[in-house]
Symmetry: C2
Subunit: 428 residues, 2 copies
Amino acid sequence: MTTPLRLGIAGLGTVGTGVLRIVQRRAALLERRSGRPVTISAVSARTRDKDRGVRLSDYAWEDDPVALARRDDVDLFVELMGGQDGPAKAAVETAIAHGKDVVTANKAMLAVHGQAMAEAAETAGVALRFEAAVAGGIPVVKALTEGLAGNEVQRVMGVMNGTCNYILTRMEHAGLSYDEVFEEANALGYLEADPQLDVGGIDAGHKLALLAAIAFGTQVSFGDVELEGIGAISITDIEQARDLGFRIKLLGVAQMTGRGLEQRMSPCLVPAASPLGTLENATNMVVLEGDAAGQIVLQGAGAGEGPTASAVMSDILDIARGLRLSTFGQPAHSLVKPVAAQTATPAAFYLRMALQDKPGALAKVATVLGEAGISIDRMRQTRHVESTAPVLIVTHKTTRAALDTALAGLPATGVVEGAPVAIRIEEV
Amino acid sequence: MTTPLRLGIAGLGTVGTGVLRIVQRRAALLERRSGRPVTISAVSARTRDKDRGVRLSDYAWEDDPVALARRDDVDLFVELMGGQDGPAKAAVETAIAHGKDVVTANKAMLAVHGQAMAEAAETAGVALRFEAAVAGGIPVVKALTEGLAGNEVQRVMGVMNGTCNYILTRMEHAGLSYDEVFEEANALGYLEADPQLDVGGIDAGHKLALLAAIAFGTQVSFGDVELEGIGAISITDIEQARDLGFRIKLLGVAQMTGRGLEQRMSPCLVPAASPLGTLENATNMVVLEGDAAGQIVLQGAGAGEGPTASAVMSDILDIARGLRLSTFGQPAHSLVKPVAAQTATPAAFYLRMALQDKPGALAKVATVLGEAGISIDRMRQTRHVESTAPVLIVTHKTTRAALDTALAGLPATGVVEGAPVAIRIEEV
């Protein structure tokens, strides 16, 4: 094959310009690897007159990404605009309808419209690929879809929002509060325009939902992801967790259970010595567990021009090489609608509460836990701060329901000051 | 496509039976993912009458793997016998000549005959794939060939022999000598029939040579890998390195330099806090560095039935799905013969020597280093043991040539007892 693969690129932000730079600088390498030239026919972005530090003069310009998506000189439409609906969705749908292959980095769009788009792509006989949508430069979609294709996948876990991991590790190392580091991150431009996408776990939840669809052969169901952000994590808990040998991560977990598909994105304690526990700053990590392969850990940059463009190029090169695979690793019409698990897999929990300085206070708490069927693995009471004593408890494995029963019973003891903190400890 | 993909499997050791088990147990999953049934037509092994705990009665039996490789009812020949030459090579060549696709886990064969075989496969229009040959269950061949296809690869590093990493970490944790742990490992069946394949770095060197070919578009050149095993590593060096914040790993490094292709497999110090430094037991880790993706770290089981069979299945499923890629990621005839770098990239070194208890001894050593152009980053002299004092030196970056000059000059000082130990510190 020496027919060029002609790209149309919509969206010239960080990632889009990164893709342009690679196509321009590495033309010979790309052709050697794919057996054909990879060229760009046309581009589109919101503003034309902006210095992006990259040459655009060789390419046709389209103000409208939808017009770009249906151009005759475009074989592969690269969607890097972002946004769940709007122009991104319209352009991708147009590209598919016009028989173009599509590569996108748009996790929000696919987490919501992925099933419909995969079906449309299948009907049209085109590829729709999204390596760049999950964990930036880490080729995790490929590792899961192809590398573990012979495995029944047991669990997928990941720290997939670099900003949240930056905030949590920065709090720990600088001894700063969540609010202080949030402001820092904001000033550094690390946060999305709507910060809840990051700190609320939504962005990472989108990614988890996409991986779960591949792992379990289910239709993407972002709506079923149990979401909890990092806004309530205090420096105290980070420090106490560390003392107990854990670190707190915004951790995504997807697993197929007898109760249905469990998808959670929430702060969890993980052992400090585990791979997930060693993760610093904005680095991403995904852990794939297969019945044959065992535990595979992948680590790398989860965002940024180079890493994300590298992932986009991986999909583009696959298509240039003729490696054409279903969006979620099996025909879209064969993906089953998952039943969402209503309860999470039992786990140990970290509890922190302030006990009043009264005789028998600790015994009362232990009794409430015991009555809820929760046994205690470790308990630590530290020196009184004014009239209350901080108490840390690590429970044995229990259900969230039992934990909630215990938490509801604590006020009646009359010895617990304020609301206890409870954080899941994930077995990794 | 509903035509089955019909396998012929030669070699029914651990990996072969693992593949059989997956094909038997996961038939529905494999068909759902690949769009066609994956079946087994025939198998071959040295002994037929042996209980492998897996059903063979449905398959034709061939005593001769070469006969298996040319059977009409075999589409894909799976070579899991091992051995650089002999039956494995003959059977793979036969399969290719008869137009069969080939999947192999045979690193020794490919490290030596990979170029010729890739060319033969290309001429015959068949696939020749080897995910299982490198780092067991970690999909590193795929990550490098496809996931980083848009990158100019800068460096590939890896701990890719689980037995060596087991020996080194076991020495450290149990405080045992190399010889003691070697005997333990041997008794546990962890070592190859020829232990030099493991502890001499040969097996890991084969793997490095295969990754280098993909990374740099060069013909596999195992003969150019600078090989050094772990036999000379003492518990003293492991402990002293640890005190300095390092761990000793049998580390493979491949990089393209202005001086040519550098390929080394040798004991190195790496920072204890780096991903490579955290690696325990028989786990494998590969670090891929691309100009766009940055550093990607992959970790998992490097051997064993499940992990290796998982990698074999990854290649089989690729072929079942119609994902057909050149053996080394670009046409075999376009791979260039590499020029081997004659000298390694400069590095810092760890030096340990015993100094005689004489005035000015340390100054004499420092002078010899200085005259060789080597400056000292850190030096530590500990309490005298009998009449000598152990001295540890961490140099700044220097060439191996300068280091060798210094080492050659030390005896003349008359203060150094015995031969100094010098180990490279790799920047990871």
